[in-house]
């Protein structure tokens, strides 16, 4: 077997045996269920815990199923990304810090195979989690609020998946760069949060931005994004992902000497 296959098998065993393959999708599924369910039962929930004065009448407009799906994505943007960052912050930095990388680096290791195997496994689990979460979330949304046009739903999921690919690429490149897992998490969260804040404050001046992928994803439910802006943003995201991959390979090779001997 070539090195990539060997290393991918190792990553698979790692994610299986430390249960990442189970608990990360579980979190996304849970978030996916909670959004439609809590929306549906909001009046009853408020009724029982709200401490509202006797006779209060609250009228809630029943949300559209599309709005519920967009709200699930909103949860993923906050909690989901945090979970992914924390789960994969130590992918490389942690191996160097603990010294487990030493026995790999002392061999004729291909750092492309090394980095890409980690990237592929993390992406598989992240996408699997997001897809399963959306799938289960949509099932409840469908039961409680009604159906969504399937093409729009797929466009929505794939657009958001591209954003997830970018996020994981950032996390892994940061993990290759930083001396330990905590700093890698801080760096990735810093980059993702700050750039999103900047984009939402000043972003009206540049419609082409990978940071708008989540906005564009949700807009499939309305009139759809401006196609030129969307494709340019998606293309830019792909270029960024490729760049982060190359950067990650380069840095993990350059910083190999920092592994604990």
């Amino acid at each position: 077997m070539n090195q990539f296959g060997v290393l991918l098998k190792k990553e698979w065993r790692e994610n299986l045996r430390n249960y990442k393959i189970f608990w990360i999708p579980a979190v996304f599924i849970l978030l996916g269920i909670m959004e439609p369910v809590s929306n549906y039962f909001l009046p009853q929930i408020l009724d029982s815990v709200g401490n509202l004065p006797e006779g209060t009448v609250l009228e809630f407009p029943v949300p559209e199923p599309e709005q519920v799906m967009a709200a699930i994505m909103g949860q993923y943007q906050l909690l989901g990304l945090l979970i992914l960052v924390l789960a994969y912050m130590g992918t490389i930095a942690g191996e160097r810090k603990s010294g487990t990388a030493t026995l790999l680096y002392a061999r004729p290791l291909s750092f492309s195979a090394y980095f890409i195997s980690k990237w592929v496994m993390a992406q598989i689990i992240a996408l699997l989690s997001v897809w399963l979460g959306f799938l289960v979330g949509y099932y409840y949304t469908y039961l409680l609020f009604g159906s969504i046009d399937i093409m729009n739903l797929l466009r929505f999921v794939f657009t958001y998946s591209l954003w997830v690919l970018l996020v994981i690429s950032i996390v892994l490149a940061a993990s290759a760069w930083m001396p330990n897992a905590g700093l890698a998490a801080a760096a990735s969260l810093g980059i993702i949060i700050i750039s999103q804040v900047v984009d939402s404050l000043l972003g009206t001046y540049w419609p082409i931005s990978p940071l708008k992928l989540s906005v564009y994803a949700a807009s499939w439910f309305e009139n759809g994004p401006d196609m030129a802006d969307f494709w340019w943003s998606a293309g830019l995201a792909v270029v960024l992902i490729a760049f982060l991959l190359l950067l990650g390979i380069f840095i993990s090779s350059r910083k190999a000497a920092s592994t604990k001997v």
Binding site: M1, K9, K10, E14, G99, T100, T102, Y105, R107
Partner: protein, 293 residues
């Protein structure tokens, strides 16, 4: 034939020289002990030869393709892999292909005494087992050069003996460079001694060469009683030191030869109980080299 040639090897960290112009060569199928006090640059030297660290200067010339086996002082394994899975992965990354990797892994694990633990997770291993697994992953791909950083210092005397015996049996087709501060071991398995101090190579040669350089050989006379020893000392035949009933005669300088001493002892009732020739132990040499210069 030289398997490895190191010339002027240097490593500096922000201006501090951790290894300072070290040169040596390893002949094929020999064992070389790298000794020296803590912080003398042993680990740094091994790391550079293993390819983990980039040298700041000098050159490392390897005359082989089949790779290096490296055992760090505290080997760390992925706790969720079994011993066999880890060893197999190590072999495959070093270029051994699938089926062969598994066979060689099983054989190697049996060789290092982990035959009954092949399917156990490495996270449950004791210190001794980790060291054995560390050795297994270093030799599983049958490298020509084996680099071992303190291979036995974490082990108890029994484990130490066993690992040293394993290493000796590997010597037939492997070149071994190992660091140690357990000088007894170095004395038992070494064709060449390299003595590092503050990053510099301060002493180098075969065990007997180094010993003869520092030896100050002595003849030791053990008398039956202290009085007999005192009587012998009073004759002031040669320069000597007495410690109770034992007299030491330095052989260098104005000292006598063994024959002269035996002749004197044969011709009288000296009450002698034993005669032997002593040379300095590696430990004495270590203390001398580490202390001086």
């Amino acid at each position: 034939m030289n398997l490895l040639e190191v010339k002027g090897l240097t490593k500096s960290y922000k201006g501090n020289l951790a290894v300072d112009r070290v040169s040596f060569a390893l002949e094929e199928r020999t064992a070389t002990a790298l000794i020296g006090p803590n912080g003398s640059g042993k680990t740094t030297t091994l790391s550079m030869i293993a390819g983990l660290l980039k040298e700041s200067g000098g050159s490392i010339q390897r005359d082989f393709k089949s790779g290096v086996g490296f055992l760090p002082q505290y080997p760390q394994f992925f706790p969720w892999l079994s011993a066999l899975e880890f060893t197999e992965m190590a072999a495959q990354i070093s270029g051994v292909d699938g089926k062969k990797a598994r066979q060689q892994s099983i054989r190697t694990l049996e060789f290092v005494g982990l035959g009954s633990a092949v399917n156990k997770k490495t996270g449950t291993f004791s210190g001794g087992m980790r060291q054995r697994l560390g050795l297994a992953q270093a030799i599983v791909h049958q490298p020509k050069l084996l680099l071992l950083d303190e291979p036995v210092s974490a082990l108890d005397p029994t484990g130490r003996r066993e690992i040293m015996d394993l290493l000796k049996s590997l010597q037939q087709d492997t070149t071994i460079l190992y660091s140690t501060h357990i000088l007894n071991d170095a004395e038992k398995m070494t064709d060449q001694l390299l003595f590092l101090k503050e990053g510099k190579l301060v002493e180098q040669g075969s065990l007997s060469e180094v010993k003869s350089r520092y030896a100050e050989p002595r003849i030791r006379l053990r008398f039956e009683t202290e009085q007999a020893a005192a009587r012998f000392e009073d004759r002031k035949l040669w320069p000597m030191n007495r410690d109770r009933n034992v007299i030491a005669l330095p052989l260098s300088g104005e000292g006598p030869t063994m024959q002269q001493v035996l002749a004197v002892l044969a011709n009288e009732e000296s009450g002698i109980a034993g005669v032997d020739r002593q040379s300095a132990s590696l430990e004495e040499i270590f203390l001398k080299v580490a202390g001086n210069k």
